[in-house]
């Protein structure tokens, strides 16, 4: 039993790492438009989202139960190695898309990874094909369309109704409304996505015989999953936030409000009516819809196309990585160790690559164009994630891209004050 305990321990740690990547991958869903319209300061936005995710994790365990008993057939001989391999694929894909700044679905990465690993280790019997189509493929296509159309209609309507009003004054109202919608999205995200990890950990515990089949996740599982996702959310996937907040379209306060409300409505309606849609795809779709709904709004279709390609690739790519990992892990203890070492190496390489062009809360609202000389220089001077202690003048300098006067002016300001 000693051996199984160690392996399950590895699986649990890996699941929490996945949960963490899930958190910072999906911060953008709730907070990208909130940050880009200026409704909330970047740091405050991620802190609020993180706390709501944590609260959400404790609210219910319904989703956790369906993950451990839905798509994968637990009785077909799923072992902890298989779950481990599935998680590795999901983590690697999540990090790659984060590096590219693409909002792809963390849930799809997880499903893809689990399916790939199960197919290799157990065979086709281990996967419920019908459940995959109903729970993954159809929602993937439907989510952006449903949310996009709703947000587009809402954006049109709100611009029409408020066309005679002072924009400065209405913007305040829109921002307040947007914060409420974003809070709902964060809470819903916590109840859904933290539970996916709980489901996976519970699945691992069940396969290892630690808890009985169809049991509720133990409290320590709920708490650790909630904390992991909240931590990830707080650190913020600034790359993805920038793509979603600035890359797809330029978002005005009315659009941000319409998009976020549309996303919240879609997520709640779909999860309540038993047709769960991917949060990421819902939010991206509603941002696109709000871009289409404003006259003169710019849609950056190249970004949208890259994003859709990433969505299509998520399931097979995570599946392939996991299939490879499963092949290796099936060789025995040394295989599992090899997979763990390889995965650590890949994660380290991706992280190193991300440090070359870091993106953080100080300049998350820039359009994703090449940074100016001043911005680049400031990035090398500014210490990496320095919490909220980044001096105001440095942040101000970093926000004005390619502005030669930005840094000197900021310095004079700080000298005279």
């Amino acid at each position: 039993m000693e051996h199984i305990t160690l392996l399950i321990g590895i699986v649990i740690v890996t699941a929490l790492v996945f949960d963490f990547t899930n958190g910072f991958h999906d911060t953008a869903n709730a907070m990208a438009t909130t940050i880009s319209t200026g409704a909330l300061q970047p740091k405050i936005a991620v802190a609020m989202s993180a706390s709501l995710n944590l609260v959400g994790a404790f609210l219910s365990v319904e989703v956790a139960k369906t993950i451990s008993g839905g798509i994968i057939d637990e009785s077909a001989g799923i072992r902890p190695e298989v779950i481990f391999a599935g998680l590795v694929g999901a983590i690697v894909w999540n990090l790659l898309t984060w590096l590219a700044g693409l909002p792809s679905s963390s849930s799809h990465a997880l499903f893809g990874g689990l399916i790939g690993a199960t197919l290799v280790s157990v065979g086709t019997d281990g996967v419920h094909g019908g459940a995959v189509v109903m729970k993954v493929l159809i929602p993937a296509v439907a989510a952006p369309i449903v949310a996009g159309i709703a947000s587009m209609a809402a954006t049109r309507l709100t611009y029409r109704l408020a066309r005679n009003r002072d924009e400065q004054e209405t913007a305040k109202g829109y921002r307040a409304g947007q914060i409420a919608s974003a809070a709902l999205v964060s809470l819903a995200h916590g109840t859904n996505d933290a539970q996916k990890t709980m489901g996976v950990i519970t699945l691992a515990l069940i396969t290892g015989g630690v808890v009985a089949p169809h049991a509720d996740p133990p409290l320590w599982v709920i708490a650790s999953a909630g904390l992991a996702i909240a931590l990830g959310t707080y650190l913020g996937g600034w790359r993805i936030i920038r793509t979603m907040g600035k890359g797809i379209t330029d978002i005005q306060p009315p659009q941000g409000f319409a998009a976020q409300t549309g996303a919240a409505a879609t997520i709640l309606a779909s999860s309540h009516l038993g047709f769960a849609l991917s949060t990421t795809q819902v939010c991206s779709g509603s941002v696109m819809g709000s871009g289409l709904g404003r006259k003169g709004g710019v849609g950056r279709w190249s970004t949208a196309v890259r994003m859709v390609v990433a969505w299509c690739l998520t399931l097979p790519a995570a599946g392939l990585v996991s299939a490879g990992a499963a092949l290796l892990a099936d060789q025995g203890d040394w295989g599992v160790a090899a997979v763990a070492i390889l995965a650590l190496g890949v994660c380290g390489a991706i992280f190193a690559a991300s440090r070359r062009k870091p993106i953080d809360h100080t300049h998350v609202n820039e359009a994703p164009e090449p940074a100016g000389v001043v911005t680049a220089a400031l990035q090398t001077v500014t210490p990496p994630p320095a919490g909220q202690t980044v001096p105001a003048q440095e942040a101000a300098g970093a926000i004005t891209p390619a502005n030669g006067a930005g840094a000197p002016r900021a310095k004079t300001a700080s000298l005279t004050s």
Partner: protein, 78 residues
């Protein structure tokens, strides 16, 4: 393998109605409490909303708040 078109259609319909409804109502609230666009040289406060518009606006905001509360209820009860 059958696609549950009814559930999908239901999700689409509910989402569309709720989103447009809430955004519309909230906009009514904003419009009711905001000044109209100021003309050059117009007297200050000329665009201020009347009492009726204000009451309507607060009612609209109240409905939106209720919708948010229902949303939280759905998340908690799910």
């Amino acid at each position: 393998m059958s696609i549950d078109w009814a559930a999908l259609g239901q999700v689409f319909g509910v989402t569309l109605v709720v989103t447009v409804g809430i955004v519309g109502l909230f906009t009514v609230g904003i419009v009711g409490t905001a000044r109209t666009t100021q003309q050059e040289g117009a007297a200050a406060g000329a665009g201020a909303p009347g009492a009726g518009a204000r009451i309507g606006a607060y009612a609209a905001f109240a409905v939106c708040a209720a919708a948010v509360a229902y949303g939280i209820y759905l998340i908690v009860a799910a």
